[in-house]
Amino acid sequence: MAEMNMAKAINKALYEAMERDSRVVVLGEDVGQDEGVFRVTEGLWAKFGDKRVMDTPLAEAGIVGTSIGMAIYGLRPVCEIQFAGFDYFAYHQLESHAARFRNRTRGRLSVPMVMRAPSGGGIRALEHHSESREGTYAHTPGLKVVIPSGPRNARALLHAAIQDPDPVIYYEPKALYRLFKEEVPDEIEVMPLGQAKVVQEGKGITLISYGACMRATLEAAEMLEEEDGVKPEIIDLLSIVPLDMDTVCKSVQKTGRAVVISEEPRYCSVASEVSSQLNDTVFLYLEAPVRRVTGFDTPIPFFSKEKYYIPDAERVLMACRETLSF
């Protein structure tokens, strides 16, 4: 066991994956000698060299498009897009090709690749450096979407993503990179995709979140227990696609109330999907409407106002109280 932050844990997973599987290659902007703008690829270039750790030209479609070719040829590319706010430049490659090759060739060709990108706000960055658009990828048939919430699950989920036979979008909530440390076991852990985690058992209300918003959710839960005497059940989704609605529905059947917390714009969001599926499945168990606490349907504001956009503990708490007193 060693204590480390999330950036280090992701780095550890990359290192381990490259060490155990020579098909794994890393490519992206500044991932080589510079070791990534967030230092997530630290030590990889020095250890594995130019052939397997490639600084690429500055071109997102190029990075993703060539990764698709490499994956079809038999490699396991893990490409980095420097910020999620730039991955739209590669979206057509993901939507038109990474997500479709298996389907269009009836299983003959496949694209086992991972696209990593730091997502979300909260680091006082300039425009285009704070987006959370996991909903866009979740809406794209053929992709898997994974968002860790801390060092230990980040490492275990990245291993699963790299080993997965299909393309995986792996969003790294950049606000968490160095926010806290956690014990990470020495031996490799692989956490299956598509499994949510009940991080706290409770009753009366279920809080469902993922990624960086888990911090506000946990904080709000503490306040709710302390100030209102309600210990909520808390679920960390971890995988956005496939989404583990069984775990979510089981909990909400028990508690009767649900608040979904995420940082993305609300319209057609992951939070909306969870809410909609709860209504489809456990409608008769609900004591109150499912509440969504999310970003707003505006671009995330420049950083002087981002704290009003990203759900914080107070906003989650308010929604919990309104849901409990409905």
Partner: protein, 379 residues
């Protein structure tokens, strides 16, 4: 401080070996056996005849919209002939002759145009990607395949195709650039037929040739007569050899003219001059190639008759096979829509599959799943 001239070393060559009068430049004539030449002619003609027959089928409503390839046969035939089986072939969508040579069948093509994914599934042992609809996006896959060959130390090459319209796309620039930077063994074969549906070449680029763009990427570029299968073969062969030897990518521009509609849904009378089309139609690749083969004694009336009969049988059989295949459960069953998206069907998709099965009254079949094919390729 003064203004000086920076000499850019590269020059663009133009190559023609067999001209439109079927005169051949003996010094440049590539070393192809009589058997190979006959094979090339047969496959080019097969693509031509198939194109004509597909058009009838489309008019009858038996297949859907498709892009015609008549007049483009020399490009993919010449280029694919320069490849070995272990090399990779990444088409755009007017490469029927080359795809047939690589091992795809007319049944595959018919199934694709008839609306079945199975037509996009590469045949066993064929290192090809299927045709690509979003313009220029496949070029990055070819670059990536080439980069992967370098990473693995495989001495193979990739041939990929683009149209003149594709040169305007960002993906084209990124693919040229990635391939050049990583010295990927890729030959970019540009089918410059001077039209992107109704938009002429002059609206795609402000420069004189596609080939000269290569200079800016630091790779060799050459323009060849795109109706001259020998010139295409010679240029691509040279580029493939260089690529295999670590010399990186090449851009081969094949100049031709789209003498047919863009697709069956297009009417070129609206934007093309009839005269120009006729001029180019006279230069199409098969007339001169047939004459060349006759001059060489490879082709005569009798051989032509045999080839025609062979092609007719192949096309007839392919159409019959398509009609037969689309009736099979594998192609007809809508539940298989769900089965190839992921390696394993995730629960949420299984639920949607069950939903469709229920709607179709096929609940019992809802859990059956088509086994995935083994992966193609050299890995």
């Amino acid at each position: 401080m003064p203004r000086t001239i920076l000499e850019v070393k590269q020059k663009i060559e133009y190559l023609s070996i067999l001209n439109d009068k079927a005169e051949v430049d003996k010094a440049l004539e590539p070393k192809l056996t009589n058997e190979q030449l006959k094979h090339m002619y047969t496959y080019m003609l097969m693509a031509r005849r198939a194109d004509e027959r597909f058009l009838n089928l489309q008019r009858q409503g038996r297949i859907g919209t498709f892009p015609q390839t008549t007049g483009h046969e020399a490009i993919s035939m010449g280029a694919s002939m320069a490849l070995k089986k272990s090399d990779w072939h990444v088409p755009a969508y007017r490469e029927l002759a080359g795809m047939l040579h690589r091992g795809w069948t007319l049944v595959d093509q018919l199934l694709l145009w008839a609306g079945y994914e199975q037509g996009q599934s590469p045949p066993n042992g064929v290192n090809d990607l299927p045709i690509c609809v979003p313009i220029a996006s496949q070029l990055l896959h070819a670059a990536g395949i080439g980069m992967a060959m370098n990473i693995k130390g495989d001495k193979h090459a990739v041939v990929t195709y683009l149209g003149d319209g594709a040169t305007s796309e960002g993906d084209c620039h990124e693919a040229f650039n990635f391939a050049a930077v990583f010295k990927a063994p890729v030959v970019f074969v540009c089918n410059n037929n001077q039209w992107a549906i109704s938009v002429p070449l002059s609206r795609q680029m402000g420069c004189e040739t596609v080939a000269q763009k290569a200079i800016a990427y630091g790779m060799p570029g050459i323009r060849v007569d795109g109706n001259d299968v020998l010139a295409v073969y010679a240029a691509v062969h040279e580029a493939v050899e260089r690529a295999r030897a670590g010399g990186g990518p090449t851009l081969v521009e094949c100049l031709t003219f789209r003498i047919v509609a863009h697709t069956t849904a297009d009417d070129p009378k609206k934007y093309q001059k009839e005269e120009t089309r006729k001029e180019w139609a006279a230069k199409e690749p098969l007339i001169r190639f047939a004459k060349y083969l006759r001059d060489k004694g490879i082709l005569n009336d009798e051989v032509q008759k045999q080839i025609d009969a062979e092609i007719e049988t192949t096309i007839r059989d392919a159409i019959a096979k398509m009609d037969e295949k689309i009736k099979t459960d594998e192609l007809a069953n809508p539940l298989y829509t769900f089965d190839y998206l992921y390696a394993e069907i995730p629960p949420f998709l299984q639920k949607q599959r069950d939903e469709l099965a229920h709607y179709l009254g096929k609940d019992k079949e809802s859990s059956s799943k088509q086994p995935n094919h083994a992966h193609a390729g050299s890995h």
